[in-house]
């Protein structure tokens, strides 16, 4: 079988003061890869380099075994869908979708067959003869997807494709993207700043911050084991500290507040560690090992959850389900015990 994976080999690109640095990445055929990162991190530039719209200052890009670093966009077989759709305003829906096929010498029958297939797949049959200026955001995004997918690209690049849509349209389209990716061998590379979107769609996620690809892994890995404090902060691990690994009886500990907490880690010396607020169990009695006493500073209702700020010598944030009995026991000034299992403590090198 032909290998159609995408490989980025040490990509660097400087644009003004911004710099994309040392990007190494491999995305396999059929994968739905999400590039996650805050605004201005360099996600779009990275996509434009993959598409051939911008060329890297150094580094190489391979599609399968073929080096495509210097190929122009029109020869790469890579589709691109932008956040703001960018449909051609002078063409109607049908003309937009078949725009690429018409230019590439396809016969009318082939064009019509593929158009019908796309219309079916993306549920846009009724829109075919409409003007693109009268469509809703969701409809426009479907047309933009159809226009790219009809070319049967090896890679489909999606630049924040759902961020301009209302929540319900976003959910529907999110599901459809997942189905679409499962039904083709096309590599989907989806850029977003929305962690939930990444968690739902990505078979793997890469986090880009300040022009660097900090970590790649399954969404769960990124979620539970971020490897820097910036990344931990970005994925919502609100408790981020620094300490030193202490070895005792072949077990490893870190210091949190005044207490030694057991951790599972191969690291030694100075380290950073993060704890997700929802992994902390709060009780009124001590829980044995890894149980920290603390004083409740604040109790904030967050709908289904209650956010509890606790003074353990340091500031600790916990998220507990908003059940009545929990809320009643958590009053400001009361003493509680925070149990943090060793596997909930994510240790990373500094």
């Amino acid at each position: 079988m032909e290998d159609s994976s995408l490989k980025l080999n040490n990509i660097n690109k400087k644009i003004g003061k911004f710099e994309l640095k040392n990007i190494f990445l491999e995305v396999l055929s059929g994968e739905y890869f999400v590039i996650l990162g805050p605004t201005g991190a360099g996600k779009t530039v990275l996509l434009e380099i993959i598409a051939g719209i911008k060329s890297p200052d150094t580094g190489e890009i391979f599609l399968g075994r073929k080096n495509i670093t210097h190929l122009p966009p029109e020869k790469r077989k890579i589709g691109f869908v932008y956040q703001d759709y960018l449909l051609f305003p002078h063409l109607n829906v049908k003309e937009n979708i078949i725009f690429g096929l018409k230019n590439n010498g396809f016969k009318i029958k082939q064009i019509n067959d593929r158009l019908e297939q796309m219309a079916e797949l993306l549920k846009i049959k009724k829109l075919i003869n409409r003007s693109v200026n009268d469509l809703s955001g969701g409809e426009k995004q479907r047309i933009a997807l159809a226009r790219a997918l009809i070319m049967e690209p090896e890679i489909l690049l999606l630049d924040e494709p759902l961020s301009a849509l209302d929540p319900s349209t976003k959910e529907v389209l999110q599901n459809e993207l997942k189905v679409l990716s499962k039904n083709t061998t096309t590599i989907f590379i989806h850029v977003t700043h929305d962690f939930e979107e990444a968690l739902y769609l990505g078979t793997r996620v890469g986090v880009v911050m300040n022009g660097e690809l900090l970590q790649t892994g399954t969404p769960e890995e990124i979620f539970t084991h971020p490897n820097t404090s910036d990344l931990a902060h970005f994925v919502g691990a609100e408790n981020i500290y620094e300490s030193e690994i202490i070895c005792k009886n072949n077990k490893k500990y870190i210091k949190l507040g005044m207490i030694l907490m057991r951790v599972n880690s191969d690291l030694t010396g100075k380290i950073g560690f993060s704890i997700r607020p929802e992994y902390i169990l709060i009780s009124l009695i001590p829980h044995g090992e890894n149980s920290l006493p603390g004083k409740v500073l604040e109790v904030l209702n967050r709908g289904l959850f209650v956010k509890v700020i606790i003074d353990i010598g340091d500031r600790l944030v916990a998220l507990v389900p908003a059940r009545e009995e929990v809320i009643n026991t958590l009053t400001v000034g009361s003493t509680v015990y925070c149990f943090i299992p060793p596997e909930a403590i994510n240790v990373f090198p500094l």
Partner: protein, 260 residues
């Protein structure tokens, strides 16, 4: 000043100026318009109309052909010193046309570059080619300005999308950007053409005012005025006024339908 008085003063000034313009042009049209049909058989007027149309169409098309790549360069490429290039290209726009004409005359008439062109059969002095080059030189900056603004108004990512759909840069520009700015192009063509039709100063300096040779409509006005033939002046002026009004109307209409 109270709101009401402020409003009345503004509107009054507007209408006074409006009346001033209408009465100025109206005076010429009232006297010249009836004579258009009787004078249309005059060989001199026919020659002037024909020469004006020919030279203005050629110079306008030449402006278009050159302006598109220049406007694209200025709006799409981050060249160093783009602002300086824009300023230099705009000089003929602010220069009195007569100075443009003198400059062209000196370039083609007194330099070895002019001699070289002349040896190639490209002489621009006191002939029709001179009319065309003078109109071209004076009108090019406004054409570039309109097209530059139009191209800047089209999101370059539309061309990027076309590239990912298999289009070369040229094809992406021709199939995406050009059709989107077609109304701007139409407006630029009409504006440039009507300005070329009325170009006087630069043409007079470079091509001269020679009856039945370089006699465009503005030259016909100038020549007839100098011999006191006011009827002929009115007719030529009326024709130019009517063309201006039509051009301006088409320009405004084209603007309304610009893609947003």
């Amino acid at each position: 000043m109270g709101t009401k008085i402020f409003k009345i003063v503004n509107i009054s000034i507007t209408f006074v100026i409006l009346i001033f313009i209408i009465s100025t042009l109206g005076t010429v049209l009232i006297k010249g318009f009836p004579g258009i049909f009787s004078s249309i058989k005059s060989p001199e007027l026919l020659f002037a109309i024909k020469l004006s149309l020919e030279t203005s169409v050629i110079s306008t098309l030449a402006c278009l052909v050159v302006s598109i790549p220049i406007a694209y360069t200025l709006s799409r490429y981050n060249l160093k010193g783009t602002n300086i290039i824009i300023t230099l290209l705009r000089i003929p726009l602010t220069l009195p046309p007569i100075v443009s004409g003198v400059s062209l005359l000196l370039l083609f008439g007194t330099t070895s570059f002019g001699d070289f062109l002349s040896k190639l059969g490209l002489s621009f002095i006191f002939n029709i080619k001179g009319i065309i080059i003078a109109q071209f030189f004076v009108n090019l900056p406004s054409m570039i300005t309109i097209l530059k603004a139009a191209i800047e108004g089209v999101d370059i990512r539309l061309e990027y999308v076309a590239r990912t759909l298999g289009f070369s840069p040229l094809k992406a520009f021709c199939k995406v950007t050009l059709p989107i700015i077609r109304n701007n192009i139409l407006a630029a063509l009409i504006l440039t053409w009507s300005k070329a039709l009325g170009e006087f100063g630069a043409v007079l300096m470079l091509a001269g005012a020679i009856r039945f040779k370089t006699e465009t409509l503005p030259m016909a006005i100038y020549l007839n005025m100098s011999v006191g033939d006011l009827d002929a002046v009115m007719v030529s002026s009326s024709i130019l006024i009517i063309i201006s009004i039509i051009s301006l109307s088409v320009f405004e209409l084209a603007d309304i339908e610009l893609y947003k």
